[in-house]
Symmetry: C2
Subunit: 353 residues, 2 copies
């Protein structure tokens, strides 16, 4: 398999070097360049054990409690799209990062960078959606900030949310905990959000009823964790999609992740759009789906728990953790072949969140 | 005084109505329009008791601890200026918001919105400054995010930091606690940061040795709180400067704040630049100065404590809280007159933080 890996790298376009280069859109895509930026710039500068865990949320002891803390900026274009807008996306995104740490989300902050000339009515609509999303997720937005930049900057509105929560359960979740024999589960169809954003930009001129899957997953996670102690790792499949999570797990735990293409739930509209674009739905962002790595013996309990919740109705086991080849993600294709699923180098869908 | 207040409003330019208007730069200036945006859009949407306190940091109970939580976005232009850059500014700003809540700052998040084409070397320099500022303030940057937007957006780099801390002391700080007889103290010369940014833009073509006062104030606050229990309210004098804080105190506590112009420490270079520009240093942002409202009987203890710290060496009592006229800030000018110091409607120095 070492040969296959080498071949795969050689087929890719040259990896731009972070050290002496300029920022490109793919640095924000969640794939290889984002990882490089973290490794080359942020980890050396901010070096500490929490950051090195490379989870979207950090868990730290504060006065005896296990506090989860996370942040995300949202620069999605367009601001309003079928199924949601930048506001509920920003709330759900941070709620989900907290939930993936095993935390009960409690409080959110919201910082706005607004463009001069942005309609106040749009801001009101976005704020109202944020409030509704917060209520749905059982959190409060308790602090915030507003900055304004000149016309032509900031595309109307960027939002950065941060969130705090508490890990009540005696959990140790993390990609490093994955072990051979574990099951890889996804909570529903993948790629809805990314394809919805793409269609909303009108570039493909496709009509569709597809909507973003943006949703708070904290309740679904609680249902899963109530049902089984076999959960090793939880991730929400945002930028970079399921393929990127599988790579992070394989790399962090030094295991192989073998995915079964036929088992991955993908809506026909998403599949169709991806075929037109030549992209793989495994890399397309969801905003309301989680990937769980679960003790293989607890697969059924985990699937039953997820499927008993409206947001996990279509949960499916999509793969297995194996010992070999360590660090690689393999896909059993629907045609019976096997191919390597690597981290993306470019960003096929920039600014989807 | 009611007449004076009315007159003051009549002399101002018409206040744009938030409800049916568009965002203007002054919505981010920290003055009247920022307050309107909060009152008309964010408070109604996110309605909860913490936000209504209108402090930069929220304090909430979490598993028995009093957790402080705050966020700020930074869009300063230029990114690098005498005395600092957007990185240490972003760390110090959030550390200071936590400190003003009476909290011991613990952990920070950092979310970057980068412009395509931004030099990676500049990002490294900024990240290194953030790390140094975090070390100086005794906090860790434990979680983060990176998004990239197209060339022409985001002026290179916007940073949003959020922070958590713990309030260990049995404190109840807040602008509502100000009482007649209290002293108003500032920890050092005002306006250094705002004027430094303005000069760094080169628009005034003035040479100067002035540098931003950006600094973490948590240690200074600890020194003050150790020395006296008479502290009612702490604010860092950022956007809108000392004048805006005085207005927030007057309005929140239903008191008058009477400032003594001759007592306000202002460096000659800052005074000179402000005279050239026709702006009042009382409105110009600092990034390393706090305003404390302190029990009048504890003034000396508070001043001694502040002056014993390098960041408070030039602390001065600049005013007094009075009963009448409630809600107003009055300035005893150096020429013996008295004038009303209102919230600003425009933003004389946009994007200084």
């Amino acid at each position: 398999m070492a040969d296959a890996k080498t071949t795969s790298f050689n087929l890719s376009c040259p990896v731009p070097r972070v050290a002496d280069d300029r920022i490109v859109l793919a640095h924000g895509g969640g794939g290889r360049l984002t990882h490089q930026l973290i490794e080359k710039i942020f980890l050396p500068a901010f070096s500490n054990s929490m950051l090195e865990q490379r989870h979207d949320g950090a868990v730290v002891p504060v006065n005896g409690a296990r506090l989860a803390f996370t942040t995300d900026s949202f620069v999605v274009r367009p601001l309003i799209f079928p199924g949601g807008n930048i506001g509920d996306l920003a709330v759900n995104g941070t709620v989900n990062d907290l939930a993936m740490s095993g935390a009960r989300p409690l409080h959110l902050s919201a910082a706005f960078v607004l463009e001069e000339g942005f309609p106040v009515a749009d801001l009101r609509r976005i704020a109202t959606s944020m409030a509704a999303a917060a209520t749905r997720a059982g959190v409060q937005i308790i602090t915030g900030d507003t900055k304004v930049v000149e016309r032509g900057k900031a595309d109307g509105c960027y939002i950065t949310t941060a969130g705090v929560g508490v890990v009540d359960r005696p959990l140790q979740l993390g990609a490093t905990h994955a072990r051979p024999g574990d099951a890889v589960i996804v909570s529903g169809p993948v790629g809805d959000h990314g394809v919805t954003i793409l269609l909303a930009r009108g570039e493909l001129q496709i009509e569709s009823d597809l909507a973003s899957d943006t949703a708070p997953l904290s309740d679904l996670v609680a249902r899963l964790l109530d049902a089984t102690t076999g959960v090793r790792c939880l991730r929400d499949a945002t930028r970079g999609g399921v393929a990127t999570i599988a790579n992070e797990v394989a790399s962090a735990a030094g295991v192989a992740v073998v995915l079964d293409e036929a088992a991955v739930p993908v809506r026909p509209e998403v599949r169709g759009a991806c075929e037109l674009l030549g992209i793989d739905p495994l890399y397309v962002a969801c905003e309301g789906r989680l990937v769980a790595v679960v003790d293989g013996d607890r697969t059924d309990a985990a699937l039953d728990a997820l499927r008993s919740h409206p947001l996990g109705r279509d949960a499916a086991r999509i793969g297995t953790v194996r010992e070999e080849p360590p660090g690689l993600v393999l896909l059993r294709t629907e045609f019976g072949g096997t191919r390597i699923v690597d981290l993306l180098i470019g960003d096929p869908l920039p600014r989807i969140c």
